[in-house]
Symmetry: C2
Subunit: 284 residues, 2 copies
């Protein structure tokens, strides 16, 4: 698909992410259609000019009109949608997604997908603590990373198309990782951090703690306000990697505890120096 | 001491916190003196109008001129300073501190302190990732909490004085906790969170991780860039409370891991709902 000549994009799943894609694509002059089971979401998007047409049913004509499709669905719903509705897709198009875990979805979709449509996976690393199309905002892409996640089945043309999509959406950095590399990275920087934030909130209940928190605790637990439906599914879909990373983290917490128990000041300082050194790479 | 009529405040220890106190007090019209072993810090503060006079030695006259003293030192240095120099303090004054741990310092100081000087402990819950007087900024107090930490030895007058100090410095919320309550609270919201951030950075080393991090990881590890001298000392001074809280947190991480391993979606969602509910109290 050529981004210049073909101009209709279909977004399946009009939540925060789908709505933000719609906002960015409309701004760029594309015709944007959307499907979502929630009528309120479709009406909101129509009323606020985020989309040109929308439907709560998998409208055959709307699907067939798309020159590109972006799936912003929960992983399991995505597989079901392809099974039921891929017959309506225009031949020769590229489709992509926004799913936060790749190994368990990319191969499944590529296996069941028609030969004349190509699925190239991608992961926009952007989000907010709030959900729903009403909270859409394409500014969330500005300082964010966009990861294209090809398999051996993907063509160079599809990879380039997907990179271009990331660029026109306004992402700061576009990169390419294999599904396995992606899931390990995301297990660490996203899922493990959410596990930690949740555990920190649930482990201890001090009365009036909110009156005594400084910025550190506030920042660390910002993501403890969490969409339980999405994240429980994401955790399970990256189960093995995530458990391995949780084990490594728990072991390291135990090491730290030993250092404190033994009053090993030098050992503690060494950990802190390593931590400082690694964290400084983020502030370049 | 009366904040209206008596106007000379001595700050002992001119780092980030001491400098920020100086900035706020100068702005309010106080005469501010400072002691610090680092000549560069004193010169910087004099040159930039943060203080009126300063010295690298425990200048007898400078100490004797103070109507109030604020100690912004590492805990151990604080005890040594009092032992060596309390003889110069003006009778009848109140002194306070900024120390982040209370049980192991407050009773010691009150035990060795002259009868005609009263030490009322306090903890300004503000800070930055950078240190040194050059990074001083009294804006850090604006959205922060200030905790007054009296013991049974303290008078109502000293407690009121200390609360007033927090108010004039510009803190958002002034509260009172016992040393034990304070240390438990701070172990949780400050030290445990720093342990977690450090462990998250040191547990796993993925190449180029900085290219893939979203806001969550960035926020969670912001404090992993840490002053190892100050924090190793703070950790050890609150050792028992901190270890107890680390244990609770590690257990909770293990619970979470079990839920993921057993694919217990309902159990995971329950944790996330509790976490969300508790975290929402912070955003009131």
């Amino acid at each position: 698909m050529d981004w210049i000549n073909k101009k209709t994009v279909l977004i399946v799943g009009l939540g925060l992410m789908g709505g933000s894609y719609a906002m960015a694509l409309k701004r760029l002059g594309y015709t944007v259609h959307a499907l979502d089971v929630n009528e309120e979401s479709i009406n909101y998007a129509l009323k606020n000019g985020l989309i040109d047409k929308g439907s709560v049913d998998p409208d055959k004509n709307l699907i067939a009109s798309a020159d590109a499709v972006i799936f912003a669905l929960y992983p399991k719903t995505f597989v079901n949608w392809i099974t039921d509705n891929q017959k309506y897709l225009k031949p020769g198009i590229f489709i992509t997604d926004v799913t936060g875990v790749k190994q368990c979805i990319v191969y499944d979709i590529q296996k069941i997908l028609r030969e004349d449509v190509e699925f190239i996976a991608s992961h926009p690393m952007a989000g907010r603590e709030v959900s729903g199309v009403q909270n859409s905002n394409d500014m969330i892409f500005r300082d964010a990373n966009y990861i294209v996640v090809p398999t051996e089945k993907n063509t160079g043309q599809a990879i380039e198309w997907c990179k271009m999509l990331g660029r026109i959406l306004g992402f700061k950095r576009i990169s390419v990782l294999s599904p396995k590399e992606h899931d390990r990275m995301i297990g660490y920087v996203s899922q493990l951090t959410h596990c930690i934030a949740v555990s920190l909130m649930t482990a201890i209940d001090l009365e009036h703690v909110e009156d005594y928190t400084g910025d550190s605790f506030r920042d660390l637990t910002r993501i403890a306000r969490i969409n339980e439906n999405m994240w429980s599914e994401l955790f399970l879909m990256n189960k093995e990697t995530l458990i391995d990373e949780m084990d490594k983290f728990i072991d390291e917490m135990k090491n730290m505890k030993e250092l404190i128990a033994n009053e090993d000041v030098e050992g503690l300082k060494e950990k802190m120096r390593l931590s400082t050194k690694r964290r400084m790479r983020f502030d370049k």
